[in-house]
Symmetry: C2
C-alpha cells in the first residue's frame, strides 16, 4: 500500500501554539514526537506498507522533512495552495499512477490524528487493503463513535455478514445533536475519520466522474509528472481545480463504498478540549505543561512556552501562553480559538498567524 499522509492543515485550532508555519501536524504534543512523525511511524510499521508520501504546501516541506525521517522531496506531493482534500488526493493519485501503475493500492491518512493500538490499526488497514484489491471499491476506515458528536461526518453502513467490512449506505456531515444521539443508539453509524484506501484507478475514475474539471486539468499535465516542468504547470492549473473535500466532492456521490469498522482509540485532536481529553492530568484534573504555576484550579489545561504563566482559581479553563501571544477561554468553548485566528487575519496580523 502506498500511504499518503495529508499534511495540509493550516494550524488554526491550536493557536497560539500552532501557527501557519508550525501547524498541528508538526506540534510535539506527545512524547516529544510530532503528530506527523507518529503517523508516519504507525504507517511504516504496517507490513503491507510500500512507500510513504506526504501531501503538503511547499512552505511546510522542509519542516516536515526535519520532523519525519527519510521523507525525500520526491515523496512530497506539493500543493501550490490550499484547495481542500479532493485536489490533493487527485494529485497524489495521478503521481502514483505514473510511478506505480493503475492497480496500485493507495491509502490516505490525516497527519494530525491520534491513534492508539497499532495492532488494531494494522488489522483495519489489512481489511481495507483486501477490500480495495477486490474491485473498484472505495474503502473508508470508520471510527466507533463514543459520544454524539455534532462536529464530525458519519458513515451509515449495512451489516450484511459477520465481518468488520460493511457496505456504506450514506454519509451524513455534522448532524444536529438529536440525530447524532440516534446514530449512536442505532449502532449503524461510524465516524468518518478521513482515512481511505482504494486502487489508484478506482479513485481516479471517480474523480473523473464527479469532479471532471479537476480530473481534466490534472490529466492535461500528467505527462509532465516527475519532470522539472511539473511544478510550474501544476501551479498554473491549480487555481481552477475544485476546492472541495473528497467526502463532499466524491464519496457522497459514489457507489461501491465500504467502511471498515475499526476498534482502535482515535482522537482527531480538533481543539484544546479534545487534546485535554487525551493528556495526562494531575489529581485536580489539570493538564500543566511548561513553565507554569497553577494553584487551586480544576479541570484546566495550562500550556506555557517561552513564557511563564501563573493561574489561580481556574475551573474548566484553557490558558495557553507563548512568547508572543496568550489565549484564555473556557474549555467548553475551545473551538472558538478560530474566531481569534479570523480576527487576526482580518487585521492582517501576519506576525501572529
Amino acid at each position: 500500500m502506498h500511504c499518503v499522509i495529508m499534511a495540509g492543515g493550516a494550524g488554526t485550532r491550536f493557536w497560539p501554539k500552532s501557527r501557519r508555519k508550525r501547524p498541528k501536524q508538526l506540534l510535539e504534543l506527545f512524547n516529544g514526537k510530532s503528530l506527523i512523525a507518529q503517523t508516519a511511524h504507525r504507517l511504516a510499521k504496517y507490513p503491507g506498507s510500500d512507500g510513504l508520501y506526504v501531501a503538503a504546501s511547499d512552505h511546510l516541506v522542509k519542516s516536515i522533512q526535519n520532523s519525519v525521517d527519510g521523507i525525500t522531496r520526491t515523496d512530497c506531493f506539493i500543493e501550490p495552495g490550499a484547495r481542500n482534500t479532493a485536489p490533493a488526493i487527485a494529485l497524489a493519485a495521478f503521481v502514483l499512477r505514473k510511478r506505480c501503475g493503475d492497480d496500485a493500492v493507495m491509502g490516505v491518512f490525516p497527519a494530525d490524528h491520534l491513534i492508539k493500538n497499532d495492532k488494531e490499526f494494522q488489522r483495519a488497514l489489512s481489511l481495507a487493503e483486501k477490500k480495495a484489491l477486490e474491485g473498484p471499491n472505495l474503502v473508508t476506515l470508520g471510527i466507533q463513535p463514543d459520544f454524539p458528536a455534532t462536529g464530525y461526518g458519519y458513515v451509515e453502513f449495512n451489516r450484511v455478514k459477520a465481518s468488520d467490512v460493511h457496505p456504506v449506505v450514506r454519509f451524513t456531515e455534522k448532524p444536529d445533536l438529536e440525530t447524532a444521539k440516534s446514530f449512536l443508539e442505532g449502532g449503524y453509524h461510524l465516524w468518518n475519520g478521513g482515512m481511505f484506501v482504494w486502487q489508484v484507478s478506482t479513485i481516479l475514475d471517480n474523480i473523473a466522474e464527479h469532479l471532471p474539471a479537476t480530473y481534466d486539468n490534472l490529466a492535461s499535465i500528467e505527462n509532465l509528472i516527475d519532470t522539472p516542468k511539473f511544478m510550474d504547470a501544476l501551479t498554473e492549473i491549480w487555481p481552477v481545480v475544485d476546492s472541495i473535500s473528497i467526502d463532499y466532492g466524491v464519496l457522497e456521490n459514489a457507489s461501491n463504498i465500504f467502511t471498515v469498522e475499526t476498534r482502535f482509540d482515535w482522537n482527531d485532536l480538533g481543539s484544546w478540549r479534545t487534546l485535554y481529553d487525551v493528556l495526562p492530568k494531575d489529581t485536580d484534573g489539570n493538564v500543566v505543561q511548561g513553565d507554569a504555576t497553577v494553584l487551586d484550579s480544576k479541570n484546566s489545561i495550562v500550556l506555557s512556552e517561552g513564557h511563564y504563566t501563573a493561574v489561580i482559581g481556574a475551573e474548566d479553563l484553557v490558558v495557553v501562553s507563548m512568547a508572543d501571544a496568550t489565549i484564555v477561554l473556557p474549555r467548553s468553548q475551545s473551538e472558538r480559538v478560530q474566531e481569534v485566528v479570523h480576527w487576526l487575519k482580518s487585521r492582517e496580523r501576519e506576525e501572529l498567524l
Copy 2:
C-alpha cells in the same frame, strides 16, 4: 509643609506588570503618568507646600527621578533596605530637623494611592497642617469608608465639635467582616490611608518614646546627615532599626492623635480588583488595555503589554500578560497575586520578580 512621599513599595500586588524594579508607584496606570508623579503633582499644588521629598530604596531613585520632574538626589531619603514605614519616617524626620528645624511641619504620603478632587485634598491638608502647628499633635488623614473593608486599618474618632478634625480614640487594624460592618454603620470610623501630618519634633519625640532603638541609632549618626559619610553610616545602623509600620510602632501607642475627616475620592489601588474599580469600562464591564482581543466577556480586566492576548467567554476574570509572564485569576481573588510572587521568590526566579 515638607511633603515626604513614601515610595518603598515592593511591586508585588500588580505582578506581572509591577516588578521589583518597576513597583506600583512607577506604573503609568492612568493618563500616561506614574502614580508617584501624580502624587507629587497633587502635593506641589498645595499652596502650603514647601518642598517635596521621596523616601525610597536606592535601586528606585533613578527611575523616580525620571518619573517625577525636579526631584534631586538630595530630595531622596534613601533607605538602605526595606524596613517598613517607621524607620523611613524617622529617617525623613531626622534629615528634616537638621535642614529645617524642630518645628517644621512634615507630611507623609504614600506614593501609589489614587486621589481625586484636588480641592478637597488641599482643604484636608490645610486642616491637618493647622492642627499640627497647634501643638504636639499627630494628625492622620482619615478616609470615608464606603464598604466594610477587612483589609484596611480603621481610625475611631470622637466628634467633639462641628469640625472635620477629630480626636482619635483608637486604631483597629484589619477587622473581621462583622466588625467592619459595625464600623461602617456607626459612623465613627475612618480608614487610615497612611497620610500623616505633624511637626518634626512631635514625631521624633514619639519615636524616641515608642521605638527607642530606632531613635537612638539614627540620633547617633545625626551629625553626619548631608555629609558624604552619611549613607555608609546609615547602611551600618539600618539592620538594627525596628522593622515596623508607623501605625503599629508609634500611632497605636501615642496620645494627642487627631484625624481629619476627608471627603476626597481615594483608592489605595491595592490589587487588580481595586484597579478594575477605577478604570473606565466598556459596555460589558470590561477593562481592556494594550494589544488584546476580548470576545463575549463580562466584568473582566485584560492588560496586554509587549504581548498579544486573546480572551473569550471570560467572566470576572483578571488576565494580565507581559512579554515574559502572564497571570490569570478570578477578579474576586486578585490579592492572591502575592502567592505567585512568593512562589517565584521561593524558587529564586529573580528574572520574573
